[in-house]
Structures are given as C-alpha cells and as structure tokens.
C-alpha cells in the first residue's frame, strides 16, 4: 500500500503543478501540454514518455487496489460475528473512510480520463486545445461537474490525510514525536493538494480563467 501509494502521490504532485500552469494563460498552458507529449524526444517517440508513465501508474493503481482488497477481505474474515452495538469512530475519521473513499476516487479517475484525456465526455474534447477543454468543463452551466470534481478532491484529501501518515508508519516511522510530525505533514500535504486542485475549477467558475 505504502510503496504504490507514494508513486501515485508523486504523480499527484506533478499533475497539480501542471494544472496550476493554467494561470499563466492559454498559450503557455497549451504549450506545456504539448511539451508533455514530447518529453524524451528524440530518444522516445511522440507521447512515448506519457505512455511509460500511464503504464507505470496503471500498475501502481492495480497493485494498490489489490493490496487494499486483500486487507479488506482479511478484515471481513477476522470478524465473522459483528457487534450489535457499534461505537462511533474514536480514532481517525479519515482512516475509517479509506476503502469507500478509494472507490469514490477510482470512479472519479475513470470519469476524469474520459473527460480530459480522451475528451469523450468533454464539451470541446480537442486534445490540441486543453485550455479550452478545461474552461468548457467547469463552465457555470455545468455546475454538477464542478461539484463531482470537488467531492472527489475532498475524498482524495481525506485519503491522503490518513494515507500519508500510514505509509510513513508502514515504512518504519517509530517515535512518538515523529508520529506527531508525520500526522502534521500528512494534514498539511492533504490540505495543500486539495487547495491546489480546487483552485482550477473555482477559477474557471468565478471567471478568473476564461
């Protein structure tokens, strides 16, 4: 969980920084999107790097889901008789919503790829004009898209709130003071990533980016 999670988190950071380039204007943003396709040229063919990255991410996602499924099945098997009186969560809320939160994020990723990678569900859907795709996507008339996006990002925030701490713990974080630091790092990182991702749709919604 920890190793594949860290790989996905590294992608999330790069993806967020790329998204924020939208504030530098249509030309710069479209140029950046074009550059992503040409990374490694002439050693790699066009979009070669992207495909390497996609395969890597797919493997990481599948291993992440596989590990989560194993844990969930073991948890189910470990408690065949349920409690009649279930207490509300006493530890961390984020920790107890990892599984369903993960499912929400997966559904969003499927939609997100159909929307802004293949362009199937996008009103513009022109891969040479990603700026126009984004602006059309989060137009005020399509408030439900922005709402789903926001929900998915908040779910991602909760997922990272526990996930980052849990990954550090799985990889051997062991002191009580370090635990406080790891929890603080996880919280700050989750909030920063949420803000970074939500800036784009809300900038479009409020007309800052058009």
């Amino acid at each position: 969980m920890a190793v594949t999670g860290i790989l996905l988190v590294l992608f999330l950071i790069a993806h967020m920084l790329g998204n924020l380039k939208i504030f530098t204007g249509a030309t710069a943003f479209n140029h950046y999107a074009g550059w992503l396709r040409e990374i490694g040229a002439p050693l790699l063919p066009s979009t070669g790097f992207l495909w390497l990255q996609r395969v890597g991410l797919l493997v990481a996602v599948l291993l992440h889901i596989w590990a989560a499924t194993v844990l969930a099945l073991r948890a189910r098997a470990a408690r065949p008789v349920r409690y009649a009186h279930r207490k509300k969560i006493q530890g961390s809320y984020a920790a107890r919503t990892m599984r369903w939160g993960g499912v929400i994020i997966l559904l969003f990723v499927v939609y997100h790829i159909l929307d802004l990678t293949t362009g199937t569900l996008n009103p513009v859907g022109d891969s040479t004009r990603p700026y126009a795709n984004v602006v059309a996507d989060f137009a005020p008339g399509r408030w439900y898209v922005t709402l789903f996006y926001t929900l998915a990002i908040v779910a991602l925030g909760f997922h990272l709130r526990h996930g980052v701490f849990s990954a550090l713990r799985s990889l051997g974080q062991q002191t009580p003071r370090g635990e406080q630091r790891a929890r603080a790092v996880a919280l700050v990182f989750a909030v920063a990533l949420c803000v970074g991702y939500l800036l784009v749709p809300f900038a479009v919604l409020t007309g800052l980016v058009s």
């Binding site: 194993v70 844990l71 073991r74 948890a75 098997a77 470990a78 408690r79 065949p80 008789v81 349920r82 409690y83 009649a84 009186h85 279930r86 207490k87 969560i89 006493q90 530890g91 961390s92 920790a95 107890r96 990892m98 526990h162 701490f165 849990s166 713990r169 799985s170 990889l171 051997g172 974080q173 062991q174 002191t175 009580p176 370090g178 635990e179």
Partner: protein, 253 residues
C-alpha cells in the same frame, strides 16, 4: 441506580447466541462493573437461571483476564481502565448498557462473554521470549541499558494481553499486542539475538491465527487500558523490514 442490561448469551461454542435483556435494580455507583454483574448473577442463581459467564481474575486491572465490549467500547467508556476497574458512577440511572464479548475469529466465544484468547499464546510462543540462562538474578549493572530504551520497553511491557486492541480494531488485527511484545524485547540488549527471527515469527503467527491486517487506524491505542502507543507498530514495521532484508541467521554471513 436502576439499569437495563442487554447481554450476549451463548450457552457454548456451537450455540448461535443472542442478546438478552435484564433489569438490575439498586446498583450502587461505587460498585465496579464486574460487581454489578455479580449482583445480577446472584439474582439469576436464586431464580434458578444460568448466571452470565464472564472472565475475571485479579480485579485490580493488571491481570488482563476481564474484557467486555460495553456499549461498543472495549473495557467501557473510561480511558486507560480495564472493565474490572470501571465504576458504575460512569453510568446514569436508567441507562441501557449493551455488553458483548470480544469479536474476532481468533477469539472464539466459549460461553456468554468468555472468549478463548489462546491465539495470543501462539504469537508469544512464536518469538515472545529471550534466550537467557535461568537461575539467580544477574547483577543489574552487568548489562547497561540506555534510559530512553528502558522507559520505552517498560511502557510496552505494561501490556496485559487483554485483547481490547483486537476487539476495537475495525480490521480485527492484533498488531498492537504483537508490536508491544516486539518493542519490549527488541529494545533490550537481552532481546537482540532473536530480534529479527522474533518479528517474522510473531507476525507470521499473528496472520496464521486469523487476525486481520493493520491499517494504522488507531482505534486500538484509544481503548488500550495500558495506553500502549501506536508508535510501537512502527517499531515492529521497521524491525520487520530490516528482518526481511537481513540474512542474520545464515551461518557465515
């Protein structure tokens, strides 16, 4: 105090079991939770009914025998307290209290609220020991121990093996117990020779017993009557990672 109790009744391992409601009147707020159950049982015996079976021994909070899920809380609502040290003043007159046994596949119910926790013994047998000659106690200063290590080891050694961590864990994992034992022994110079075989053996025994996997949810440390910190699990993880990369038990390495 007058209370309504809903207690899990199960006549034996094969019985399906059910929650049964009892009224208990004239409960003193100064009674311990187990004394309140004693009062109920005395009445049940006088009425010719089967008394409620529950585990207990020292009633001082140090033996680890008692363990009840009280209103969904392992050992009840008070933190850092075993069920035997919980007093009825924590409840209000007219309260309804749900009492259930620990729920985990490795902890099968023997009768009513009594579960078989010998899965913990299997984990201990797989590495929860040191090799040291028995006999008279050695001179205390012959093996120096850093104060910080002694303190952390002592903190983990406070684990009484009651099983509340398993009962509270959403995954039914017993890793807080396992980690407490690993921490206690691996921080001591006497525990070094088996340090890496211990962690592998104990985690394997833990998994084989049917406990779930840890997801660092942290419910265990909240209910632990001895306040074993969650960071012990990080220590276990680190030892486990080191053990899987070391070849310390291969002769000549």
């Amino acid at each position: 105090m007058n209370l309504t109790l809903r207690i899990w009744r199960q006549s034996g391992p094969q019985d399906k079991g059910r929650m049964v409601t009892y009224q208990v009147d004239d409960v003193s707020p100064d009674m311990s939770f187990l004394e309140m159950l004693d009062v109920l049982n005395e009445r049940l015996i006088l009425d010719g009914e089967e008394p409620v079976a529950f585990d207990h021994d020292c009633r001082e909070g140090i033996c680890g025998m008692c363990g009840l899920m009280i209103n969904g809380n392992a050992h009840g609502p008070q933190r850092g307290t075993t069920a035997c040290q919980l007093h009825m003043r924590q409840f209000k007159d007219g309260d309804t209290i749900d009492i259930e046994p620990w729920r985990a596949r490795p902890f099968p119910v023997i009768k009513d609220l009594v579960v078989d926790r010998s899965a913990f013994d299997q984990i201990i047998a797989a590495g929860g020991y040191i090799t040291a000659p028995t006999g008279s106690a050695p001179e205390a200063h012959s093996v120096p121990v850093a104060k910080a290590n002694a303190d952390a080891a002592f903190e983990s050694a406070a684990c009484i093996g009651c099983g509340a961590c398993v009962a509270a864990c959403p995954n039914g994992s017993g890793l807080l117990f396992t980690a407490a034992k690993v921490t206690q022994l691996s921080l001591m110079p006497q525990g070094q020779p088996e340090r890496y075989t211990r962690v592998i053996g104990m985690v394997d025994a833990h998994d084989e017993a049917g406990f779930g996997g840890c997801t660092n949810a942290g419910e265990c440390t909240v209910v632990c009557p001895k306040g074993i910190p969650l960071s012990t699990i990080g220590r276990l993880n680190r030892d486990y990672l080191a053990a899987t990369t070391k070849r310390g038990d291969t002769p000549g390495t």
